[in-house]
Amino acid sequence: MSLSKHLELTGVSIEFPTPKGPFKALDNVNLKIEKGEFVSLIGHSGCGKSTVLNIVAGLHKATTGGVVLEGKEVDEPGPERAVVFQNHSLLPWLSAYENVELAVKQVFKGQKSKAEMKAWIEHNLELVHMTHAMHKRPDEISGGMKQRVGIARALAMEPQVLLMDEPFGALDALTRAHLQDSLMEIQKDLNNTVIMITHDVDEAVLLSDRIVMMTNGPAATVGEILKVELPRPRDRIALADDPQYNHYRHQVLSFLYEKQRKVEDIGQHRSVKKSEEEAVELPKKRAHG
């Protein structure tokens, strides 16, 4: 028991029923994650990254295999596995403060006094630098700010694992870089266990302790796992010229575009290839800028 990891996915497979018969999205996914570890899941779209995350969150149920967190099997969603959703998912009728409050009231009901809750909510909004706009509603703040509130809400649940589903995917490059730095800062202070889904190779290398690269679906599974042993705190500008950093990037890129190149018919293949090249080009520029 003491040898078991913090979070363990064992033989996780999932099938979705379709009119044409069951569709196997994941096949035999095995992953062990240690406490305080930052793990990225990377892979082509449709490879089942989100499904893995949803299974850990308890929003999907594995057909075979399962997830064990701190010795307990995961069978339903819960605040100890807080999720930061891709599109922030804040309640639009509540202010930033009230959005976090809803989570805090639910999780710490009967454990914290009113004053303690207020302090805790404000503390978490401060972590993501949102105190100045905490009484604004989601439609009054920018996309990056909404995502910050989403992160504050998840952190405020004091989760054992923080699950992030492409948290910065919908943001512009500058805001994304800014939030990545914030996230590293928070991670340094709180030492949360994090699983993050990303499409962005630079993001994965910059933030992660390990990068889990997934094969293409259907029946996707873990392809390779890359350990990123760059010293923290990591500085994106210094790393841009770091040979080791570029070596990690190269390994992820070669997995995605050589070993797991998406095979599609020629017309589609060209357009996919083009957008892939762009996707590779853009982060490079950002890293240098």
């Binding site: 339903e76 969603p77 819960g78 639910q106």
Partner: protein, 334 residues
């Protein structure tokens, strides 16, 4: 130094251009906002005046804008005269009672109600009370029921055919049934409400509850999956989920339904009042039609315009309420 001056000059000239620009764009905008509707109204009045002259009915020429204006003044005069008569009546009554008490101290004065005929403005009041009461009852039924069927898919499937069946029924078809039921059920020696009022009220409710019912059900059942996931991760209880997530997220749809309902309620009311003889605008139109004097068509036209105006105002009020109480500030303004 010279470069600074130049920049300053540049800034001020830009500012000057800008203020000129905003001035002219402001003029343009207000011309659009006020001028075009006024122009439309003017053209409409001209066509109306010209067209009205061409239509000859058994009650004379079709009323044009000028006749309508005259009839409006005459209706206001009627109203004022009636009010004066009412005040006179009460004054005389008081005076008579005072005299009798002076003669015979043991006399207990009787106060008699003034029973003059309702004026056009009284009838507007009656119509408003009836429509708001009917709309209120419809909302009281439709919102809770809509929430229930929105939350429960089975109930929705069970009730959907019934809703679809009754939704398109005209108020005129309901009215005879409602009239008979009200007469049969509402039997009391001392009626608080007139039967005609109740008949109109229930007909309005029956016809206008459907949009609110359907929109509420759709709003409740269509809570975004993302928000449902949030609720699941937080392990909200069913009650908290409904109160904190489902209801707030369906508020914009409920308001849309209520706005549609109020529009329908007002339209249905006029027809219902005509047949039920509820002393409102519908009865006014009907009475003038039966009366058949040379002023009648003009008066009916006044009523038509007033009905339109009140309908428009009711819709605006609903919109203001929606803006005030709904979190979704992008409500449709058409």
């Amino acid at each position: 130094m010279s470069s600074i001056r130049m920049t300053l000059a540049g800034v001020s000239s830009i500012a000057g251009v800008k203020s000129n620009d905003t001035m002219s764009s402001w003029l343009k905008r207000s011309a659009r906002a006020l001028g075009l509707p006024l122009l439309g109204l003017l053209v409409f009045l001209l066509i109306w005046q010209a067209g009205a002259k061409q239509i000859h009915t058994s009650l004379g020429e079709f009323p044009g804008p000028s006749q309508v204006y005259q009839q409006t003044l005459s209706l206001i005069a009627d109203h004022n005269a009636e009010r004066a008569r009412e005040t006179d009546f009460y004054e005389r009554q008081e005076q008579r009672n005072a005299e009798r008490i002076a003669k015979d101290p043991s006399y207990e004065p009787k106060i008699r109600e003034y029973t003059g005929k309702p004026t056009f403005f009284d009838q507007i009041g009656t119509s408003l009370v009836t429509v708001l009461a009917g709309f209120f009852i419809a909302g009281l039924i439709a919102i809770p029921l809509g929430i229930c069927i929105g939350l429960n898919g089975a109930l929705y499937s069970a009730l959907n055919p019934i809703i679809q069946l009754f939704k398109p029924v005209s108020p005129l078809a309901w009215l005879p049934l409602v009239t008979m039921v009200v007469s049969a059920v509402y039997v009391t020696p001392d009626p608080l409400f007139a039967k005609s009022f109740l008949t109109s009220l229930f007909t309005v409710s029956l016809c206008c509850l459907w949009p609110t019912l359907i929109n509420t059900a759709v709003g409740v059942s269509a809570v975004s999956p993302d928000l449902q996931n949030v609720s699941k991760v937080l392990r909200l209880s069913w009650g908290t989920h409904v109160v904190k997530i489902v209801l707030p997220s369906s508020v914009p749809m409920i308001f849309t339904g209520l706005r549609l309902s109020l529009g329908i309620a007002w339209m249905v009311l006029i027809a219902a009042e005509m047949l039920a003889q509820n002393p409102g605008l519908g009865k006014f139109v009907w009475d003038e039609f039966q009366n058949g004097s040379s002023d009648s068509l003009g008066r009916i036209m006044v009523a038509v315009l007033v009905i339109g105006l009140i309908g428009f105002l009711l819709d605006r009020i609903m919109l203001l309420l929606q803006r005030a109480f709904s979190w979704d500030k992008n409500a449709i303004t058409r």
